[in-house]
């Protein structure tokens, strides 16, 4: 039965590894196709030109010399939507797309119509789902001047908003953000502009040209597109347009989804390899044990003339016998409804992406299957070689096991024989102990690494979105409206702080960061936004060059440090600044004193942070003067929703690692029992009670658990560091902060799992046939 259980464990682990591999790999390919199909269907633009609001003709003339381009100008404005529900009435941050024909970066119809007229709007499917909007519903909106009642005539998805996160946050939130699609001329009119005012142009080029990936700074994957982009920028400058041109790497939703998919694609072969390494090691240990228990038979076979090759062949086939059923079961599970289909559906359900076609890919299955079997087979070579090299006389003359090492004897000599035996037998087979630790470490690479990543992620967001923020609402407006809003704040808010927010980039690097000009820059609770200074110090106001803080992501990505004097581009201006401190922030951020920065941009403020007394909030009149209003409550509720979803997804990853670890410890226990049944039975005959043996077994497994736990924590930390570095991008930088509580949880998990296997061991010992075991062994 013990052998059957061991075989079952090994086959189950191979199956789990293959199942996970199939699930992740097929999901990766399915996701690629989902995006490609969707972008093709909706004709996602290759380039987007954006600038301040101006006549449509300024944009369309950029396409005059490109007859093969399909160009469509657009007016995109920030706004707000009033939402009334049984729970609360609130204004929700919104974005309005004023579209012309919808041929470039078009919409995918879910319900209703895609051609809104005056007073009509097509609502993004995410918002319709999150806020329960139906065709025919009336919604109250703010877009520029005053409020407007609009009728929903359609529900649709846009390739620009599959990752449904409002500006200023990375977190998708279906009920905290409204995106609507209106007729361009109508939107311009209600916003107080000339009907032909636009601020964007979406360009579709022939085919789907490659674009430069943001993560590879040294290589330009889309040279052709870069040339077109730079030509457009030159043309804009010659026409006195100060805006920018971005390719798909500069479009938030497509870029975040691409990065996310790239991460999944990169991690799936890694996870599969880790799981297969564990399976392979387990098989190698099992074969080694088999060779040991067969050693006398091998000696007899060698004595009667069997060659080393004859012996080796049999053992080389074992990984195939164990691996093939495991791989087949894993593939069948992977293509079953609980395989890649479940994962892809869960994943796209989370993002709310409408068309999800799940396919299975024979080439991928073949690659995973054969690759898995090949990798596992490698682990049979060493034990098979050892079996083939066994010399008959050595085996037949071997009458007893080797004594423990001198060091081990020295360490344990002062202990009573029971505990001494427990510790010595733990280290009796150092290579197996090492393999067990390696396997546990590998399983913790998945479980512990992910747990640390999640904890760090939560910690980062809690800190940057909650603990550091002491405002209730923040609003952004035209600089010209700042004075009026400040007057309102003086009368109605308990406290406020004007700020400037804009964007810039390093002069030698195109990646854009957010620039803040703040009244107060402090690291204590007295500020609306508390800075967590990880290096350096707070800047001094009025210096030349101006002193600034930068966030640690920027410091890492741009290789900037405290005391560096660096040059940045802000609009068409080039500014030199001195970095005095590095702070922890969610987005790539540079922070000036407002007075320093206002002299650069030429205006005083375009944002305000406010705190209110109980029951107070921004009224409708003030809202109509703002373009974006963010409340901390909504921001946190969106974040918590994402966290919940993420935890669900992560739990399955934890489970894989946890199952692997338990299987490894269980296999170790089974090996231990198989190898020591004679010894344990002897102790029973000599009068050791089950309790006495339980103590010995518990000490052994506690030791394995402790050492395994420490190894697990160490590899979890290494994995987390690797993951943090691999997942860190310009948009999302993950600082490496080790959560000691998570490290303790990883250690305790292995320790407890190791101890939890001992009752099974005791059950096996209780069922042991003492008479049979004692009489058939020689020691």
């Amino acid at each position: 039965m013990r052998s059957k259980l061991r075989v079952f464990t090994v086959v189950a682990i191979v199956a789990l590894a293959t199942y996970t591999g199939v699930m992740l790999s097929e999901h990766g390919r399915n996701a690629s196709y989902v995006y490609e199909d969707f972008y093709a269907e909706t004709n996602l633009s290759d380039l987007i030109v954006s600038d301040v609001e101006q006549p449509r003709s300024n944009f369309t003339r950029l396409c005059d010399s490109h007859s093969d381009w399909n160009c469509e100008s657009r007016l995109t404005l920030q706004g707000q939507t009033y939402h009334s529900s049984t729970d609360e009435n609130k204004w929700i941050q919104s974005l309005w797309h004023g579209m012309e024909h919808g041929e470039v970066s078009g919409l995918y119809l879910i319900e209703g119509s895609l051609t809104p007229g005056d007073g009509e709007i097509v609502i993004d499917a995410h918002a319709a789902e999150g806020l329960n909007y139906k065709i025919g519903d009336q919604i109250r909106t703010i877009a520029g001047n005053g409020t407007n009642e609009l009728t929903i005539i359609g529900i649709a998805n846009s390739p620009m908003h599959l990752w449904y996160a409002a500006e200023g946050t990375l977190f998708p939130s279906n009920d905290g953000y409204v995106v609507g699609y209106l007729d361009a001329e109508y939107l311009a009119s209600i916003a107080g502009f000339d009907p032909l005012t636009r601020n964007e142009m979406h360009i579709d080029m022939p085919g789907t040209p490659s674009f430069d990936l943001s993560e590879t700074l040294d290589v330009d994957e889309g040279e052709e597109l870069t040339i077109s982009r730079l030509e457009l920028v030159d043309e804009m400058r010659s026409l006195d347009m100060e805006g920018d041109v971005v390719d798909r790497s500069g479009m938030t939703s497509p870029e975040l989804l691409r990065i996310d998919l790239e991460g999944a694609k990169k991690s799936s072969p890694f996870i599969l390899t880790v799981l297969l390494l564990v399976s392979g090691l387990m098989i190698a240990i099992s074969i080694s044990r088999l060779v040991k228990s067969h050693s006398r038979e091998i000696a007899v076979l060698r004595t009667i003339g069997a060659s080393g090759k004859d012996i080796m062949t049999g053992y080389l086939l074992i990984p195939l016998f164990l691996g093939i059923p495991g791989v087949v079961i894993g593939i069948l599970l992977g293509v079953s409804p609980i395989g890649s289909q479940l994962m892809t559906e869960f994943y796209f359900d989370f993002f709310g992406i409408p068309v999800v076609i799940v396919r299975h890919y024979p080439d991928l299955l073949l690659k995973i299957g054969l690759g898995s079997i090949a990798l596992i087979s490698l682990f049979g070579i060493r034990p098979a070689l050892r079996a083939s090299r066994l010399q008959p006389l050595d085996i037949l003359n071997r009458t007893s096991q080797k004594p423990p090492s001198r060091i081990m004897v020295k360490i344990t000599s002062s202990l009573p024989p029971g505990p001494s035996l427990a510790i010595r037998s733990t280290f009796r087979n150092p290579s197996r102990l090492f393999a067990t630790l390696v396997m546990l470490s590998l399983s913790m690479v998945i479980m512990g690494g992910t747990m640390m990543m999640t904890a760090s992620f939560e910690e980062l967001f809690n800190e940057t979105m909650d603990e550091q923020e002491n405002w209730d609402s923040q609003a952004y407006m035209w600089p010209t409206n700042a004075g009026e809003i400040e007057s309102w704040a003086q009368q109605n808010a308990s406290d406020y702080e004007l700020l400037i927010r804009s964007s810039g980039n390093a002069t030698d690097d195109p990646r854009v960061f957010t620039i803040y000009g703040l009244e107060n820059i402090v690291s204590d609770e007295s500020a609306m936004h508390r800075f967590n200074v990880v290096k350096g110090k707070i800047p001094v106001i009025g210096q030349n060059p101006p002193q600034v803080l930068i966030d640690e992501g920027m410091a890492s990505e741009l290789d900037w440090d405290v005391s560096d004097r660096v040059k940045i581009s802000q609009g068409s201006a080039e500014i030199e600044v001195e970095v005095t401190g590095i702070v922890r922030e969610l987005e790539r951020t540079m922070v000036f004193y407002r007075t320093d920065y206002s002299s650069i941009v030429g205006w005083d403020a375009n944002g305000i942070r406010l705190t209110f007394d109980e029951g107070q909030q921004l009224d409708d009149e003030v809202r109509s003067l703002t373009s974006v209003v963010i409340t901390k409550k909504d921001l946190l509720s969106g974040f918590n929703e994402v966290l919940k979803q993420q935890e669900k997804a992560m739990k399955s990853t934890y489970m894989i690692g946890a199952i692997m670890a338990v299987a490894i410890l269980f296999n170790t226990l089974m090996m231990n029992l198989a190898e020591r049944d004679n010894e344990l039975a002897t102790l029973r005959v000599l009068g050791a009670s089950i309790k006495d043996l339980a103590i010995i077994l518990t000490i052994e497994h506690a030791f394995i658990g402790l050492v395994g736990g420490i190894a697990g924590v160490a590899t979890s930390i290494l994995m987390f560091q690797g993951m943090a570095s691999a997942f860190s991008t310009w948009q999302f930088f993950m600082p490496v902060t080790i959560d000691q509580f998570v490290a303790l949880k990883v250690l305790l998990f292995i320790f407890i799992a190791s101890l939890a296997t001992t009752p099974f061991g005791m059950w096996r010992i209780r069922k042991m046939d003492l008479l049979d075991v004692v009489s058939r062994h020689q020691n």
């Binding site: 009458t399 007893s400 096991q401 080797k402 004594p403 423990p404 004897v409 009573p416 024989p417 029971g418 001494s420 035996l421 010595r424 037998s425 009796r428 004679n678 010894e679 002897t682 102790l683 029973r684 005959v685 000599l686 009068g687 050791a688 009670s689 089950i690 006495d692 209780r766 003492l770 008479l771 004692v774 009489s775 062994h777 020689q778 020691n779």
Partner: protein, 260 residues
Amino acid sequence: MSIVELKGISRIYGDGDTEVRALDNVDLTIKSGEIVALLGPSGSGKTTLLNIIAALDTPTAGNYSFIGNDVDLGNVGKMTDFRKKNIGYIFQFFNLVGDLTALENTMLVQDLSGKRDKKYALELLERVGLKGLEDRFPSQMSGGQRQRVAIARALSSRPKMMLGDELTGNLDSETSIQVLETLIEICRKEGMTVLFVTHDRSLTKYATRVLQLESGKIIGDEIGGLSTISGQVETVAKDVISGAKKIAGKILEFADEVIG
């Protein structure tokens, strides 16, 4: 005084066509201090009988009492406790723990009984002729030395009865004699009862009683060689003492006459 009393002990393995009657209604009484050799061909039931006396196996029928108390052979915990308190067991294949030294192996049983006595363990190792080898591991010893460690281990908790299953079966004849002599000598000095299973008739000379089993039944119960030799020695000794007393009397009488 009897130490072991078996009444109507039967042990049947399997059922129907596969039924094997290893012991068939065995009655046996062993007195305290006896050294009993259990002889018989393979499959005669000698190991089964030994295992039942050691409380390692449960009989299908019959009663077993040890020093007048019934032994509960239906309860694993009580059987273990009984072995720990009363039985010293020596295996054919020594069954030493390879990770422990000779001394640690000897003390292992003491630890299980909660009676740690290093001095006694060292004394036992000296008595079995292993002085100076206390820190050796089983793999560093010969077969005979290992079995001596096994004897010391079995004795270390001062059991009331020693049981040996083919305890010399894995040793050459010269070593077998040495090992058995060592065991018998110590057990006699300690007044311990011994029951050892052997298929080697020549070893019965070390027993005071020889039981012969066949097909699960005791078919012979004889006085052993050791009993005969010791009887002769006793008679000679008695004669010598009696003669000495007579001579001494005569000397005293002569002295009285001379003095008087």
